[in-house]
């Protein structure tokens, strides 16, 4: 039985944590001195030993990834922070940057030092205006106070941070498309190899890391590997932000150690499902991960256990749906999203999502044909693993899994031209949740 914890979110309730004064008062920027006392490569091994895994979705061990960065090439190394949080259901980085931007900056400084990089690019989702304002203030304050710029606090370490607002494309969360976009080109994924670690931004060695990943780094440096490993599971240690949304009483970001179960998180932090509703299906890590059912509610939320259950932990964006909600409608909604966000570069993703979306329209308009289910399945097979990047794979995950788990609903729809009784296209979850039990809005604070 896990308990909610407070590591990354420790300052969420401090009203002025977003200012330098508030951050310093609550123990901020303490890890710098510890970090600068060590050799950069020691920091990399520390992160490796701590078992920090990428929080952007793939869960690749961060320390190992950092180890790929060539050193002493004579070329500059860049750190790119992927703050293009676009995965449906995911909103952890937004709050992190809104409420505690200095925590991220501290992570950037330590990570840059570990990577021997003097320049970090913060690639921020274009719609994140409020986090952007907070970050701009924080960066300005940090420069002022000497935490950024040349010779940070007399240590001889130089770190510059460039904040870049993205232009609004889901695909730019894919790291190579992000790099193209950052360079001012069309955001479309690049061929690999060469990998960004060898040739990333402007052809230079580049590390691309998620916001939450980087925010973990100062805590590891400050408190040590053992402390970090005391949270979470053996293979997935550390704290994790879970973004819970959907038909629960209190949606939001909740910090739990890795390995907490969905039931715990929903019951304890979200105060359960909305009245009288049973959990029917949910995404463990955003819409790009295969759906799980209510039967999986006790699966520990860590990379291994979720994979064993047939899905992926992804960004830990838990979208919870009850027995009153149509899975077909949800899948159509996601498919429309992927159709809209497909970059158009490769055939299967571009044409496949275009086709899938029209089939879903037909199904829900009562014009489905019995052969459409096999067609859906086959189109998904033709996309999965054959598209250029993971967007195509993600697009078919909800379709494939919903077809496998809830084929009866599809069949009912085709047979009768309407959804089964008691199941609606849109439940009133959004209305029921609005303004209810949520933290105070930050706008204008």
């Amino acid at each position: 039985m896990s308990e909610p914890i407070s590591v990354l979110t420790q300052r969420y309730d401090v009203p002025d944590a977003h200012t330098l004064a508030g951050y310093e008062r609550t123990g901020g920027y303490q890890s710098l001195a510890t970090a600068f006392d060590q050799a950069p490569t020691d920091l990399v091994s520390q992160v490796k030993d701590a078992g920090l895994r990428g929080r952007g979705g793939a869960g690749f061990p961060t320390g190992v990834k950092w180890g790929f960065t060539p050193r002493g090439t004579g070329k500059p190394t860049y750190l790119v922070i992927n703050a293009d949080e676009g995965e449906p259901g995911t909103f952890k980085d937004r709050e992190l940057m809104e409420r505690d931007p200095h925590q991220l900056l501290e992570g950037i400084i330590v990570s840059c030092y570990a990577l021997e990089s003097e320049r970090a690019f913060l690639y921020l989702r274009g719609e994140y205006l409020w986090p952007g304002v907070r970050l701009e203030h924080a960066i300005a304050e940090a420069y002022e106070a000497g935490y950024l710029g040349k010779d940070i606090k007399g240590s001889g370490v130089n770190v510059d941070v460039t904040l870049h607002y993205a232009a609004g494309a889901y695909i730019c969360g894919e790291e190579t498309a992000l790099l193209d976009s950052l360079e001012g080109r069309r955001g479309q994924p690049r061929l690999r190899p060469p990998f960004p670690a060898q040739a990333g931004v402007y052809g230079m060695p580049t590390q691309v890391n998620n916001v939450e990943t980087i925010a973990n780094v100062p805590h590891i440096v400050q408190h040590g590997v053992d402390w970090y490993r005391s949270m979470g599971t053996e293979k997935s240690p550390g704290p994790k932000l879970f973004c819970v949304s959907g038909e629960v009483n209190r949606p939001g970001n909740y910090e739990w150690p890795m390995g907490a179960t969905a039931r715990e998180i929903v019951e304890v932090s979200c105060q359960g499902m909305l009245d009288g509703r049973e959990l029917r299906f949910w995404t463990p890590g955003g819409s790009s991960t295969p759906l799980l059912t209510g039967a999986h509610a006790d699966t520990p939320m860590d990379f291994e256990a979720i994979m064993e259950a047939g899905s992926l932990l992804g960004t830990a964006a838990m979208q919870m749906f009850s027995d009153r909600t149509s899975v077909v409608e949800a899948a159509r909604n996601w498919t429309k999203f992927y159709e809209h966000e497909s970059c158009g570069k490769c055939t299967p993703c571009r044409e496949g999502t275009f086709w899938l979306s029209q089939i879903y329209d037909r199904l829900l308009e009562g014009r489905g044909r019995s052969e459409d289910l096999d067609l859906l399945d086959e189109i998904c097979d033709n996309i999965f693993g054959r598209s250029f990047c993971a967007l195509g794979d993600g697009a078919v995950s909800p379709i494939k899994s919903s077809l496998a788990l809830f084929r009866d609903e599809y069949e009912h729809l085709i047979a009768h031209g309407r959804l089964p009784d008691g199941i609606e296209a849109h439940t009133d979850a959004v209305d029921r949740n609005s303004g209810h039990g949520r933290p105070e809005q930050l706008v204008g604070a």
Binding site: E341, G344, E351
Partner: protein, 823 residues
């Protein structure tokens, strides 16, 4: 690319390929064609269409063979042996077809469409797609020459990659995303590129089609013949598609040694002149009313021979002048060369009508007939020195090679001269010189007596032991260099001193062949001086002993009445000679003017006898590239009417004069010419042999300019409305660059004129009015004039009595009345 060979197993067969080879290329070696759309051997892989998916053992996912490099021991299964690959490929094809309009009957690509072929070979018999396709407006013109149909597009990005990677004119780009992704042009910038036609040829569907071939024919109804382009000295290989005695289109043919798989728009679309009404259709001669009348070939040749005979009787061989132009084949050039010496007995022959000083003969003699650096040598060179040449405007495919070398291995391209031309993107250093002063700077680079940091740096890069010194250097000297005193010899000496390969790069396709055939006074085929005729003496009855007159000399002598008969083969002196007044005077004064040409020109009006010649597509022959590569070509279609091949006309004219040159076919001419025109000794060896008698290098600096004066640099444009060989190619000409005078910002400021103004360029002999472009890539004190695109030839600006041949002009805002006229 490494030479290490690795072994890959594809469909159970082992194949050895160099390391770094892509799987799709390795499969091609075995004759296994993996279906593909976006892959193109000369473009960077993009892996967008996903059609070439194969199964690779040990890989979790299916892989795209166009982007996966083969590794040693790799085991690949294509669609032929792997169900997984076959299923995946079928799936991608189905995807590509769902949004394709399937309007094959209306589409120009129908019958030669990779998508059609693959749908037929691997595709499903019927579509499972019953929904709505995406819809766009049917074709939108992205340039006057190219139509884009976005519904048919499979978004393979071949065209956009071509324009970015190969031609460097990225005016087309992919816009939007998802299923709405589309190729488009920028709002105010149509796709104006000299190489735009290539995107039509590489488009794997009918999304890009040409306006000139629109709905003209189907591939099965076309007869395809190989050809060699006649538009410049690049020597691009062509595919000429004809139907019912007319050319329907021309495509680039593959020749990796020359044009790779590309050609320029001029070569692709510049063929309508062949069936143009201005073509000379039948022989004509002056009749009783002194007007040109159609006559029989026999009559025309007899009249011509009588005129020549009369001149010979009056003043011997010296009373006849022979001028040729830049369009002749090697056979023609040799035939005329021998005709002049053997049948007429004169050395008054010249093919060089361009303005020039008189110091180029030694260099040209060294170049003639010798194998020079090839395209591949240029591509692999570390440093290339370009002087007096703007490759994109003059020899476009050479520009693509230079660009490829710059892009692939960072070739350092040094431009020497008063203008950077269109080389600003790829040039490494621009050694600025005043117009006319190239010679002294080239000499300085050769001897190391450089001034200034830039020149030092370039000199260091050109050779020696210093850091960054090149291991291989090529010097490309253009036709324009002839205008500057001592420049061509200096360029040759630079090559000699720096152990570099030297190439003389003329603009016109027949120039190199004419040089090799000895179509200039004092030189015999193969660059032999008259004193060392060698095998020429055995083949010919008469070998002249003293050099005859050059082009200017011939025209002056004709104007003075010393030359009575002129034989003009494929040349239009009124338009092409630097001094059109002299040309007109000469043509008026000569008793007999025999014009042998393709089209009606300003010169044909002066003709006493007109002999219509067959177009290159209507005959056999061979053209020599600037490299010295001879490329024979077959006949693609019969002559329009009564035209004959030039060498044959010349042969018959000789016979009418009573001389039998002994040929019956073009092969006879070639067999006789080849050993005489080719020489084994390389350019370098022959230049080295010249060391004993030093080259006439430039020494004197350019005389200072008067206040407000500018030195005129005459640079020709690729597409000029007045080119006879672009007659009828209206769509192509609509893409031409606006001919304008180009000058440096400081000069423009001094003259009080600005970019886009209409200016009057006035020389001692006259003035022209044209738009002005202000660009930093012209040195101060010079103005670049578009020679072939001006209303009147540049020569009309010059003082006809100025012996220096230098042209100094003033530039001022055009007077208001002229503006009104032009408006």
């Amino acid at each position: 690319m490494s030479d290490d060979q690795i072994t890959v197993t594809i469909d159970g067969t082992e194949v050895q390929v160099p390391e770094g080879t892509l799987v799709i290329r390795a499969a091609e070696r075995l004759g296994i064609t993996i279906p593909r759309f976006c892959d193109h051997p000369l473009l960077e892989p993009v892996a967008a269409c996903r059609q070439c998916i194969v199964e690779i053992e040990g890989m979790r996912k299916p892989m795209t063979s166009c982007s996966t490099k083969a590794t040693d021991g790799m085991v690949v299964k294509t669609h032929l042996t792997s169900d997984m690959a076959a299923v995946a490929q079928r799936g991608q094809l189905e995807f590509l077809l769902i949004n394709h309009p399937l309007d094959c009957p209306q589409c120009d690509k129908g019958g030669e469409c990779p998508l059609q072929d693959q749908a037929l070979a691997h595709g499903p018999p019927d579509s499972r797609f019953i929904d709505q396709k995406r819809r766009y407006e049917k074709p939108i013109p992205i340039s006057p020459q190219i139509l884009l149909d976005r519904e048919r597009c499979v978004l393979c990005a071949r065209c956009t990659r071509f324009s970015q990677e190969i031609s460097g004119d990225p005016f087309i780009e992919l816009f939007e995303r998802g299923a709405l992704e589309q190729v488009a042009v920028y709002e105010d910038e149509p796709y104006h590129s000299y190489f735009s036609g290539n995107v039509i040829q590489i488009c794997p569907v009918g999304a890009l089609t040409s306006t000139s071939y629109r709905f003209k024919s189907r591939p099965f109804d076309l007869r395809s013949t190989g050809g060699v382009c006649n538009q410049c000295s690049a020597g691009c290989n062509l595919r000429v598609d004809t139907r019912r005695g007319g050319i329907e289109r021309q495509l680039a043919a593959d020749n990796m040694a020359v044009n790779e798989m590309w050609n320029c728009d001029k070569g692709r679309f510049g063929f309508p002149w062949v069936s143009h009404p201005e073509r000379l259709q039948q022989p004509q001669a002056r009749g009783s009313l002194l007007a040109l009348e159609p006559v029989s070939w026999h009559g025309a040749l007899t009249t011509a021979a009588e005129g020549l005979q009369a001149a010979l009787d009056a003043g011997g061989g010296d009373a006849v002048g022979v001028l040729t132009g830049g369009r002749l084949t090697d056979e023609d050039a040799y035939a005329v060369s021998r005709f002049a010496r053997d049948a007429v007995g004169t050395d008054n022959v010249d093919f060089r009508l361009w303005p020039r000083t008189d110091d180029e003969r030694e260099v040209l003699a060294a170049v003639a007939g010798a194998p020079g650096p090839t395209y591949e040598d240029v591509e692999h060179a570390d440093v290339v020195v370009v002087a007096g040449l703007d490759p994109e405007e003059e020899v476009p495919i050479l520009h693509l090679r230079l660009r490829k070398a710059w892009r692939k291995h960072g070739q350092r391209i040094v431009v020497v001269g008063p203008t950077l031309g269109t080389m600003s993107e790829i040039a490494w250093r621009w050694v600025r010189t005043d117009a006319g002063d190239e010679g002294r700077v080239l000499t300085a680079l050769a001897t190391g007596a450089t001034t200034g940091e830039l020149q030092d740096e370039v000199a260091a890069a050109l050779g020696g032991d210093g850091e960054g010194a090149a291991t291989s250097v090529v010097v490309l000297a253009g036709e324009r260099l002839s205008r500057s005193p001592g420049a061509l010899p200096s360029a040759a000496m630079l090559a000699q001193r720096r152990d570099a390969a030297f190439a003389w790069v003329p603009r016109r396709n027949g120039a190199r062949g004419a040089l090799d055939a000895g179509l200039l006074p004092g030189l015999l085929p193969g660059g032999r001086p008259q004193s060392q005729a060698g095998p020429v003496a055995d083949a010919w009855d008469h070998v002249p002993t003293a050099p005859g007159r050059d082009a200017r000399g011939i025209l002056e002598a004709a104007a003075a009445g010393e030359i009575k008969a002129l034989y003009l083969v494929g040349v239009d002196p009124v338009r092409d000679f630097e001094d059109p007044r002299l040309a007109r005077a000469a043509l008026e004064a000569a008793d007999t003017v025999i014009v042998q040409d393709l089209m009606r020109t300003e010169t044909t009006a002066y003709a006493d006898v007109l002999l219509p010649a067959a177009a290159p597509q209507e005959r056999v022959g061979s053209f020599t590239t600037w490299e010295g590569r001879r490329q024979p070509f077959p006949q693609a279609l019969p002559p329009q009417r009564l035209q004959q091949q030039d060498w044959d006309i010349t042969r018959q004219l000789a016979r009418a004069l009573g001389a039998d040159l002994g040929w019956e076919t073009a092969s006879d001419v070639r067999a006789e010419a080849a050993p005489l025109m080719d020489r084994r000794a390389s350019v370098a060896e022959r230049l080295a042999a010249l060391e004993s008698e030093p080259l006439p290098l430039a020494t004197a600096p350019v005389p200072p300019l008067e206040e407000g004066e500018l030195e005129a640099v005459v640079a020709d444009l690729l597409l000029a409305e007045r080119s006879t060989l672009l007659a009828g190619a209206d769509d192509l000409l609509a893409t031409a660059r606006t001919p304008s005078a180009v000058m440096a910002p400081a000069d423009a400021e001094r003259a009080g004129v600005g970019h886009g103004d209409t200016v009057e360029v006035r020389g001692p002999g006259g003035a022209v009015t044209l738009p002005l472009a202000v660009r930093p890539h012209v040195v101060e004190g010079s103005v670049v004039l578009p020679g072939n695109a001006l209303e009147a030839p540049v020569g009309t600006l010059a003082d006809p009595d100025d012996p220096t041949g230098r042209l100094r002009v003033t530039v001022a805002a055009a007077p208001a009345d002229e503006l009104e006229e032009s408006a």
